[in-house]
């Protein structure tokens, strides 16, 4: 009766309360789980980014190495003296007129059994569409058509202004896409989802079409084809990767040579020119400015519109117009340009032309050094001390700065060096215009007001909301669209929605790492973003699985990097292990790792995934390093310290190789390799004996013919990654062991 019902109510109430509490508990647990996933996702992103930027800094160091080489290396033997002298041999560069000769491709025959797409000029819309379809079916365009297309592209680009103008009066829609980086799937997806280009559908592609992905060639072909077919509606901006020097490192050069073994070199040559002719920016309705990187507080659109963009071959090594009234110092009787800074007593003998790889090396290094010294492809000296040196200062730091000051007295002037200190200033009109271009191709936005040098990228600046505001007001603009930075969602607004970053390469770091996006400018130019992720597999995965996959990939890269620094790490660990117990605390581990790798990562958070030891408090570091090595499966007959060094400098080595192999034959001589590696390692303070280098070179030359084939070169790394009997990274006889000396590395000058 009464009590019965109240008991029932009581139980019912109890049950309801229990259910409430149980649900609350589950929710609480679940939210914590998701938060930890979120944290892992952020950390993974940081890993990828920091490794990517560290790589970029490496690239910059490499180019400064060559500059250093040219300026300062004191040959210790006649052999090396010859080597250096060969670098200053005269080189004839093709004139611009030569570049226009159609004979380049007309003589190339397309075989009957060629099943790829055919092109005829003038191109029609159907051709461009057919090209997309052909590439979707994984066909390759014949070299003849590639060259033909590039010639036509160049002719078209030459007529274009530095800043393209688009009007929505003519095309109803304008779609802006960001970095593609050789990811053809993304481009095809964009056309599929948004529609092919047409007079009613304008497109702007905002640079970085090439490098990293595997289909850069195909992307370029499609983009250029549509540009020729719809010249008024299809626009391209230059990105920092539309640059032959960057391409040497980041894969585009490799891709071209791999796909076009016979004609690759020709293609690369004309591409170099085509890149220089790409416009620098696009303006929509005089209101929306689209450019690849960003702006600085010195960005001057009028100057940008007027400058000769073609003269900027590479933004890694900026060259400017010849300074008026200062002719290059000439050696008596010399008809060719002389490196201006060489003391006259150094003899520039003309070495006999040998038909050897030595000559190849000479040609390529001299070409490179000519570039470094500021000669353009016409052989005119355009070198400007100031620009080059300020560039060096930014990147390499004080070491080189002091050395340059020594040979060029005005540079000891303090005021001069404040070119890029805490404030970001340009001095002198001659440098201005090349720095203008660097700024728009390399800069990144930052949250704080101001404008400071972009030390991470080594070029351009970080620009704050006030800089954006200033620019928009000065030129009466609505907002800025830029790319250059990968974003997890494929886009990001900043500076109170005045700056939009748009990035169109989905899964850029790894499958599942990020979305791609494009933006459509609607009525009143309001932005409408469309996101995508060009990989069906990831849609099936839960967020948890996606994050795990990407995380694994990031951690693998990180472990590789850790392994590559094993000797340095061992040294640091030993410093923390004052009692020589063989153990250090996990806190010390985190400190040591950061001081060696300098990636600015949250090591304590990453520790559980990097250190598998069970004890929560102390780590036996030697066995940890051993485990790392086991994972990397080191090769027994290459000394482990050498292996580490190889790993660390793998990208640099490959780039060096490609620079030396100027005619892209795929071969360099053992000697060239040895010489260059020796110089490089001495500059980078890598302690490796001559014997070691010889051994290394010989061990790489698999077929023992005295030449290193690029495949052999890369094979050395692949074999290293394969399963092999384990090596031991922690016993490094070659390393400078802090126990043996005072812990400092011997420096070789």
């Amino acid at each position: 009766m009464g009590s019965g019902t109240s008991t029932q109510h009581h139980f019912a109430f109890q049950n309801a309360e229990n259910a409430f509490r149980a649900a609350a508990l589950i929710q609480r647990w679940y939210r914590r789980y998701m938060a930890r996933l979120e944290m892992r996702r952020h950390c993974t992103w940081r890993i990828f980014q920091s490794i990517e930027y560290a790589g970029q800094q490496d690239q910059v160091k490499l180019h400064d190495f060559f500059s250093y080489l040219v300026d300062h290396f004191t040959p210790s033997s006649n052999h090396e003296r010859d080597f250096l002298n060969r670098m200053f041999t005269e080189e004839r560069f093709p004139q611009d007129a030569e570049m226009e000769k159609p004979s380049d491709y007309e003589s190339i025959e397309v075989p009957d059994n060629y099943t790829g797409p055919h092109l005829s000029f003038p191109l029609l819309p159907d051709h461009a569409t057919a090209l997309v379809e052909a590439f979707r079916l994984k066909q390759q365009l014949h070299a003849r058509y590639v060259l033909n297309l590039l010639h036509e592209t160049r002719k078209h680009l030459v007529q274009l202004p530095n800043i393209n103008r688009v009007s929505t009066r003519y095309s109803e829609e304008v779609t802006v896409c960001g970095d593609l980086h050789g990811q053809l799937d993304d481009l095809i997806f964009i056309f599929y989802k948004n529609g092919l280009p047409s007079p009613e559908r304008a497109y702007v592609f905002n640079g970085d079409f090439v490098d990293r992905g595997k289909d850069s060639v195909e992307i370029l072909m499609v983009l250029f084809a549509f540009m020729l077919v719809y010249p008024k509606e299809f626009h391209l901006n230059r990105g920092n990767h539309e640059d032959y020097m960057v391409n040497l490192r980041y894969g585009f050069t490799k891709e071209v040579m791999h796909k076009y073994k016979t004609h690759g070199k020709k293609i690369l040559k004309i591409l170099q020119d085509v890149f220089c002719w790409l416009p620098l920016a696009t303006l929509v309705d005089e209101k929306v400015l689209i450019l690849h990187g960003g702006v600085s507080d010195m960005t001057d659109l009028e100057l940008l519109a007027k400058l000769d963009r073609h003269k900027i071959v590479s933004t890694l090594r900026r060259k400017t117009r010849k300074e008026k009234g200062k002719p290059a110092p000439k050696k008596a009787g010399a008809a060719r340009p002389t490196p201006w800074f060489l003391p006259l007593k150094k003899e520039l003998q003309r070495t006999p032309r040998r038909e050897t790889s030595g000559r190849k090396m000479a040609r390529s290094l001299s070409y490179l050094s000519m570039m470094l010294m500021g000669f353009n492809t016409n052989g005119e000296q355009t070198y400007k001390v100031n620009a080059n040196l300020s560039f060096c200062k930014m990147k390499v730091g004080n070491m080189l700065v002091k050395q340059y000051a020594h040979i060029h007295p005005p540079l000891s002037n303090k005021k001069f060096w404040n070119l890029r200190g805490s404030k970001y200033k340009h001095t002198g009109s001659n440098i201005s215009w090349s720095l203008q271009v660097v700024d728009i191709l390399w800069s990144d936005p930052m949250a704080q007001d101001g404008c400071k040098a972009n030390t991470v990228r080594g070029g351009g600046c970080y620009f704050g909301p006030n800089v954006t505001e200033q620019l928009l007001q000065k030129y009466n603009l609505q907002f800025l669209i830029r790319s250059h930075e990968c974003k997890p969602e494929g886009y990001e607004f900043c500076h109170s929605r005045k700056v939009l970053t748009i990035f169109s390469a989905s899964n850029y770091y790894e499958v599942g790492s990020n979305r791609g996006a494009y933006v459509k400018l609607g009525p009143a130019l309001s932005p409408h973003i469309v996101q995508y992720q060009a990989n069906k597999a990831t849609h099936m995965l839960t967020m948890r699985q996606r994050i795990s996959r990407v995380e694994e990939s990031a951690l693998r890269s990180l472990r590789e990097k850790l392994f590559a620094h094993s000797s340095d790490l061992l040294g640091e660990f030993k410093k923390h292990d004052t009692d020589k117990t063989g153990f250090i605390s996990l806190s010390d581990w985190a400190e040591a790792v950061e001081s060696v790798l300098r990636l600015g990562l949250p090591w304590r958070m990453l520790r559980p995934q990097l250190v598998s030891s069970s004890t929560d408090s102390m780590l036996e570091y030697k066995s940890w390093l051993k485990d790392l090595a086991k994972e990397q499966r080191s090769r027994e007959n290459i000394q482990s310290s050498l292996l580490e060094t190889l790993y660390r400098n793998r990208s640099n080595l490959e780039t060096i190789f490609r620079i030396i192999d100027s005619d892209h034959s795929g071969f360099i001589s053992l000697d060239e390799f040895r010489q260059t590696w020796k110089l490089f390692s001495s500059h980078m303070n890598i302690d490796i004996t001559d014997d070691c280098i010889c051994d290394l070179a010989r061990s790489i030359d698999f077929n023992k013919d005295g030449h290193i084939d690029i495949n052999e070169f890369l094979e050395a790394f692949r074999l290293v990654e394969q399963s092999c009997p384990e090596g031991d990274a922690s016993d490094c006889p070659q390393t400078t062991d802090p126990e043996d000396g005072d812990g400092s590395k011997p420096s070789t000058q």
């Binding site: 149980a22 508990l25 647990w29 938060a35 704080q448």
Partner: protein
């Protein structure tokens, strides 16, 4: 003597906590100015090993917010509060068996599973309800597509393994 050692021990622990907190904070300090968006505080706190409820989280945020809430939390305010939380071992994570019992409360007839509809009902109507996004995400991982139900014992086991 013993007091000194104890104090030294605590100091070391606090120093280590400070470093951990700083690291976690910096991950979300996008502008590198020692502030994070208040909406990320929950993630930071939870990744430091704590498992607060939404209510507890709101209380914590109130402690670290500015007098006039700006939408941002400053590191200087966050650090001491978070250090206390860690030292006092507040908001401990939920042990596996407690979690299991919670599921069993929702499954009184002890079938060993919850249907999709039941889970949705409990998670979105009871306790501190899930948002639609949270619900969808949980379902995507928890529901066995063949039976359209959640075998909670397996689910817990899977999630726990994933954590380590």
């Amino acid at each position: 003597m013993a007091d000194d050692k104890e104090r030294e021990g605590t100091e070391l622990v606090v120093a280590e906590y400070h470093r951990k907190i700083k690291e976690a904070f910096e991950v979300f300090d996008h502008e590198a100015n020692n502030t994070v968006d208040v909406r990320e505080i929950g993630t930071i706190i939870r990744s430091l090993g704590c498992c607060p409820s939404e209510g507890e989280l709101h209380d914590l945020i109130a402690e670290v917010e500015e007098e006039e809430p700006t939408g941002y939390i400053r590191y200087e305010k966050f650090l001491p509060v978070m250090t206390e939380v860690l030292l006092e071992r507040r908001y401990r994570p939920i042990p596996e068996d407690t979690l299991l019992r919670a599921f069993e409360v929702l499954d009184p007839s002890k079938r060993g599973f919850l249907t999709r509809e039941e889970l949705i009902k409990y998670m979105t109507e009871e306790g501190e309800p899930f948002s639609q996004e949270e619900m969808e995400e949980m379902l995507s991982a928890a529901v066995d597509p063949e039976s359209n139900s959640i075998h909670y014992k397996d689910y817990i086991a899977m999630m726990v393994v994933d954590e380590s």
